[in-house]
């Protein structure tokens, strides 16, 4: 394989992985912006969609409907999670919220462990998750191409939602100043429920590709996505959705770059090298790559 096709190969797989990471990070940051909560139970929304794929996959439905149902399941699970677990403690301090998120995470994993199976299960996946197309000496996975397209479409759709709809504007405004948003007559419950709905939606879309990559779903399948989402959003800047997207793509390119070009013997240390770079970035820019350009008044 020559250098050009190697470069294109790298670009495609990085864009695909980066888009996936960006969606993961967005789902986390959208809730963080409003509740100042890093929702570690976010990974379990990925799990819900994963078991959705398994459950609905047993039906004779075409796979696209299985996928849609699974994403909807994650969205509803996100809304339910807020209603049942976070709303009662919403006005408590940040630590209480954080611990609640760990509790929800553990609880949901245990439920899956006990009622479904502790062992990985393989949901029905369409062939395009393993097939490739070949252009000359370039071999491209179809799932990477779809991943790039879906990632971009999801980002565009979310951007439109956040800019054009009143509830989208309210979500962004609430991240600036929640009390003032309520003082414009926007119900707090509606804003927070919407944030969790978007978060669930992102987790659902992520699950399709995450589980599509590994082919398996299991109780702790959401652990790695939530960690990646957290790291990407810290690198990009927890304060902004743009930061989350940028952080996701940076992490995607970094991961793929290390995987492609690290010498064979060092490849086992890929994650160590990557986190080393992340620490370096944070040392230089503790606020993340993206920070607001205007001066925010201290309140």
């Amino acid at each position: 394989m020559n250098a050009i096709s190697e470069g294109i190969q790298y670009l495609i797989s990085s864009l695909s992985l980066g888009g996936l990471y960006a969606l993961m990070a967005l789902g986390l940051v959208i809730v963080y912006g409003i509740l100042r909560l890093v929702n570690f139970a976010y990974g379990e929304l990925v799990m819900v969609a994963g078991y959705g794929l398994l459950l609905f996959g047993d039906s004779p439905l075409p796979w696209i409907f299985v996928a849609i149902l699974s994403v909807v399941a994650a969205l509803l699970a996100g809304v339910a999670m807020e209603r049942v677990a976070f709303r009662p403690v919403r006005n408590s301090n940040a630590t209480t919220l954080l611990i609640t998120s760990f509790a929800v995470s553990t609880l949901l994993q245990s439920v899956a462990l006990l009622t479904i199976s502790p062992r990985p299960r393989a949901p029905r996946l369409p062939g395009l998750f393993v097939e490739s197309v070949t252009f000359g000496d370039l071999q491209v996975k179809i799932v990477d191409l779809i991943g790039i397209v879906v990632g971009v479409l999801a980002l565009v759709a979310l951007t439109l939602f956040m800019r054009r709809t009143v509830i989208g504007l309210a979500l962004r405004a609430a991240a600036d100043d929640f009390t003032m948003t309520r003082l414009l007559g926007v119900p707090a419950n509606r804003v927070i429920a919407s944030a969790f709905a978007v978060s669930g939606l992102m987790a659902g879309i992520v699950a399709l590709f995450w589980i599509g990559r590994t082919g398996q779903t299991y109780p702790s399948v959401g652990l790695q996505p939530v960690l990646i989402a957290f790291i990407a959003s810290v690198v990009g800047g927890m304060e902004s959705l743009k930061g989350a997207v940028l952080g996701g793509y940076v992490l995607g390119f970094l991961t793929m770059g290390l995987q492609t070009w690290l010498p064979q013997g060092v490849n086992n240390y890929r994650d160590a090298v990557m986190f080393g770079i992340v620490i370096l970035v944070l040392l230089l820019r503790p606020q993340g790559l993206v920070s607001p350009s205007y001066s925010r008044e201290a309140r």
Partner: protein, 251 residues
């Protein structure tokens, strides 16, 4: 017609009694000033009206309906719009987005657009900067935006908390002139201010709060005659860089 009637309001923060029986009314079309020193209970009164602070006693009626015990969202939907101390615009949203969110409780799409154009004509600087992040506006411009955003909900009553705070003297004058213009357009305003002198120049009536009670109520002329006030709040005309009343243009 009486728009707002607050009667015998008592608010406690823990052991501290912030309001000790405040009563006031706002008639349609008026500018009513709520004045007094820091800690007199002005902001607490305003937050009680908005449902942010829960009074332990007393009643608040808006257009004849009781507001007490309702959520801020529900109260605002009835037609009260606040501009808060410190402006509280959304810095990461554009000017236009701030304004559109001001109309969040409305569904009359076309009329919202018309109002947007109307207030942009009224505040030309906002019209020029519609697509910029609101955080990039100057302090005075942010105050204009805060007022315009509140007006976008088409309120029956505008509650303004310290609109002159933190503004340069020239801008303070402009803000007060603006308030008069709004009244002339038919907007009813309850104005909470520490700047007693300026407030008395534009208000139709005013309430002077002192340590959680209404110490004096009446027209600005009546309040001016109240000797204590001259002493306690106007202090020989040194306030906030407004050496003389003549410095302000005729409202």
């Amino acid at each position: 017609m009486t728009l707002l009637a607050v009667s015998d309001l008592v608010v406690r923060y823990g052991a501290i009694e912030a309001l000790r029986g405040v009563s006031l009314t706002v008639e349609e079309g008026e500018i009513v000033g709520l004045i007094g020193a820091n800690g007199a209970g002005k902001s607490t009164t305003m937050l009680s009206i908005l449902g942010v602070v829960r009074p332990v006693r007393g009643a608040i009626h808006f257009r004849g309906e009781a507001l007490t015990g309702q959520s801020p969202e529900a109260i605002i939907r009835r037609g009260i719009a606040p501009t808060m101390e410190g402006r509280r615009i959304f810095p990461s949203l554009t000017v236009e987005e701030n304004l559109r969110l001001g109309a969040a409780i409305r569904i009359d799409r076309e009329q919202i657009q018309a109002d947007m154009e109307r207030w942009c004509a009224f505040f030309p600087i906002l019209g020029e900067r519609l697509r910029q992040p609101a955080g990039n506006l100057s302090g005075g411009q942010q105050q204009m935006l805060a007022v315009a955003r509140a007006l976008m909900s088409n309120p029956k009553l505008l509650l303004m908390d310290e609109p002159s705070l933190g503004l340069a003297p020239l801008l303070v004058t402009e803000v007060f002139r603006l308030i008069v213009q709004l009244r002339d357009l038919g907007v009813t305003i309850l104005l909470v201010e520490q700047n007693v002198r300026m407030t008395l120049q534009i208000a139709d009536r005013a309430y002077l709060l002192n340590t959680g009670r209404v110490e004096f109520a009446g027209t600005p002329a009546e309040i001016m005659q109240h000797a204590d006030i001259e002493q306690a709040y106007l202090g020989g005309g040194r306030r906030d860089g407004h050496p003389t009343t003549a410095a302000m243009g005729a409202p």
